[in-house]
Symmetry: C2
Amino acid sequence: MALNTESVVADFNLLTGLSKSKESTKRNLSRMKGMFHDDLSFDELVNSESDPLVYEFYELDIPQTAGDILFGTSIVYPGKVGGEYFMTKGHFHTILETGEVYYCLSGDGYMLMENPEGDWKIEKFEPGQAVYVPPRYAHRSINIGEQPLVTFFAFRADAGHDYGTIETKGYRKLVIEKDGKPEVIDNPKWK
Amino acid sequence: MALNTESVVADFNLLTGLSKSKESTKRNLSRMKGMFHDDLSFDELVNSESDPLVYEFYELDIPQTAGDILFGTSIVYPGKVGGEYFMTKGHFHTILETGEVYYCLSGDGYMLMENPEGDWKIEKFEPGQAVYVPPRYAHRSINIGEQPLVTFFAFRADAGHDYGTIETKGYRKLVIEKDGKPEVIDNPKWK
């Protein structure tokens, strides 16, 4: 209980999503092996001198109880692997029956969601748009623009992250650029 | 469970906090009788032609389960009653052990918090500043600036609002303008 009596403050720049007071967790492309559909383009980009930063996000030090809320910003940088847009790994919550809100601060993209029963949905991110991911849905942010896609997120602090299911099975759908526009297609690698 | 399979989207202007697609709940000053310390100034303002809008906020149609997250924006308008700044009524959560995050989008103000044991805290709102209200703390937003104070909030959807305790007892502390600056003082009306 002692921890619960602390209030927590954190700054997140409203345009860039970056914090001056907190350290982010960074995901360079090399950390996402097998998650994009074009392995050849993936290898080329990872083996280039850059191994680009695909996204970063903040994890605050808040007690992970069912009554607490974890929050922070997520920043997905612009880029593509083959024709597939830069995105987050995506995850289920370990406590599957917990939802999450993402409020878009800047950029242009999508939230791609799917549940274990095979239902999927996609919603648009643009500045000022809030997307609610209902309980049971894995969720992944996808940047289809030229600027960073920045969202502020909040979810139950004990929800936990299950990345493994997505890493093993993949998503049913993916978003690629076709004729200069985003298109949702079936994931050829989905298991 | 059926309701849980819907994703929800909502737009909230990043500067004004206002939504084009959702209806807000509005609190004019007349709805806050007894909550400001200067009853004479309160009566004058309420009985004026304006009965000013003190704040408004959004309540979305999300299932109120322990796994869902309620979110929206809160907009506190600039103004004062006597020397006391415009503020929200403030509330405990009915499920006391639930926290809430407020992310400031624009404006200048404070989050004033107190728990049933008598501990209180105050944190500053400025654009880009997130304030986490820990479980057990009543919370009230106070606008000390010349522009609307706009925050994006998120909390557990089943937490509920207990306004009655604050309406009956008041807050231990209040924030007034003194010599042109905000000052935290003991609430003379606190019971």
